[in-house]
Each structure stands twice: as structure tokens, then as C-alpha cells.
Amino acid sequence: MNAAGPVVVTGPRPRATSVDPAHTVTVHSPAEVSVSRLVSADDPYLEGHYPEFTVYPGAFIVESVYQAVLHLLWRTRGADAWARPVSIDSVRFTGALAPGDTLDVHCACEPTAPGRLAATARCTTAGNTAAQVRMTFEVTPSEGGSHA
């Protein structure tokens, strides 16, 4: 598989997410993927977190890690591939994000057992670490339905 340049993803959501689906994806190799997204004040959940001052919920960063893993699977295993998070082994939030910031997620993936994929993500904004995440996914190689 050749590395792919950045691809801008918009349009219908392939799954329920807490954040606006628009983002840019770069698949670097069969084991490495990056996702970037602009934190927008229009994200529907942000008006309630919090009404008087906006803080991007740390848990939402996890959504971008999940999205990165799905894109890697779709690129390497085809459009029917799917992943379900089975654990967040470790997550540490070290920086705050606000509307107008860009979240960059760089994710390295490795199989740990049959049907299991471990993802280690470093999440940054303007070069500063915002979060470090280790998650494990259950990967479904082939299943009916389309993600598009």
C-alpha cells in the first residue's frame, strides 16, 4: 500500500459521533494514520460545555482517534471493515482546546491478538501535546453494509 496524501472528509457521517465529521485524513502506512480537525464553535455539543465559556471536552479527542483508526482500516482492509472500541487503556489530557484550534491526531496501530488492534495516539494543537491516548479496538474484517 502506498502512503496517501491528505484527504478532506466531509458529508454524511459513517457513524454516530459527538463532533462534526469534517476532518482531513492522511494514511502514512498500513500502521500509521493522522487526522486533523478544526474545533468549531458550531459543534452542537459545545454550546452546553459550557454555556459561559467553551471548553472542548477531552473525551471528544477520543472520537478523532476512533475516526483515524476507521480510516486506516478502510484504506487497508476495504470499505466493509469496522472497529469497535473495547478499551481505553490510558488517556491523559494535558492541554485545553478551544474553537479555532486545530486538533492533530497521529495514531500508530498494531495488532495485539486476532481481531484486536491497539492504537497509540499523540494528539497536539499548534505543536503542543493536548492528549495521549492508548485504545484497543475489536476489528471486524468483513461485514455487510456500507460506511459511505
Partner: protein, 160 residues
């Protein structure tokens, strides 16, 4: 028991990010049981691709975490209010978590029941753990999570 209006008065979260519908049990200030009904009309279900399969409607893990954690926020803010009087302008922020497991996905129509324990209060932080259920099924467990209370004026947008 605390109803939605009571919950709104205790924690700074607001619609659509207030993800606790009711408090059904609580032992101040150590343990709380909350419920949250998941419905297909929530913002996370907006704009899904036509023909999206069942798996696409799994409730996002971020919202499950957030909904669970808001139980701790309720206990904590109530303790702050009881011990220190009314306090405004501070927000609980999740700082780290470990050993969080998702056993089963949650879908519209499910009602989540979150059990949250605050294992330790320490200055402006709390350490917590717990589980989430749908009916009798345990759907998630949280081994360890730590949250910090930050006055809003101290929240900066650069690296912390």
C-alpha cells in the same frame, strides 16, 4: 432522588451536553447512581449516511464517558456547595483515565444506568471509578479516572 432541574442547578453542563436525566440514588459524597436515556434525536445521530447499518448507531464512547463522569460532577459540586457555600465559575475537567472497558455497545432506546464512586477527594481533584449498565448488562467499566476543578479564568487555550 434529583430531577433534571436539580441537576442543572448543580453542574455547569447545559443542553445538549447535560447527559444525566435523573439521579436515582446517592450517598453524599461518595457514590451516585444516575440514568440517561439514549434517543435517536440526539445531535450525535444527525447526518448519518442513508442506509447506515445498525453498528453506525452505537452511542459514541466519548458521550458514554462524559455521561458517566457527570455523575461524579454532581456529587462533587454538591459537596463543594455544602462545604464551601455557593461557588460559581469553576468547571470539572477530565484529566486522565485508565482501564476503561466497553463490553457492549449502546443504542437508541437503551437507558444507561451509571454507578459512580468517588474514591478520593484531594484538593481540587477527585479520583473515581464505576460501571455503566443497560438493564442487567454491564456495558462499560471505568477502573480509574481523575478530574480536576478549574476556575474558568484559569482555563487557557495554550498547552497546559
Amino acid at each position: 432522588m434529583l430531577e433534571y432541574a436539580d441537576i442543572r442547578g448543580l453542574i455547569p453542563h447545559a443542553h445538549p451536553m447535560l447527559l444525566v436525566d435523573r439521579v436515582v440514588e446517592w450517598q453524599p459524597y461518595d457514590r451516585i447512581v444516575t440514568v440517561k436515556s439514549v434517543t435517536g434525536s440526539e445531535p450525535c445521530y444527525k447526518g448519518l449516511a442513508p442506509g447506515a447499518p445498525h453498528r453506525a448507531f452505537a452511542y459514541p464512547p466519548s458521550l458514554l464517558m462524559e455521561s458517566w463522569g457527570q455523575g461524579a460532577a454532581i456529587l462533587w459540586m454538591r459537596r463543594v456547595r455544602d462545604k464551601e457555600g455557593e461557588r460559581t465559575g469553576a468547571a470539572p475537567i477530565l484529566a486522565a483515565a485508565r482501564n476503561m472497558r466497553f463490553h457492549r455497545e449502546v443504542f437508541p432506546g437503551d437507558t444507561l444506568r451509571h454507578v459512580v464512586r468517588i474514591d478520593q477527594y484531594s484538593g481540587s481533584s477527585v479520583i473515581m471509578s464505576g460501571e455503566s449498565y443497560v438493564g442487567d448488562d454491564q456495558v462499560a467499566e471505568i477502573g480509574y479516572a481523575i478530574a480536576v476543578l478549574r476556575p474558568s479564568e484559569e482555563l487557557t487555550w495554550g498547552a497546559a
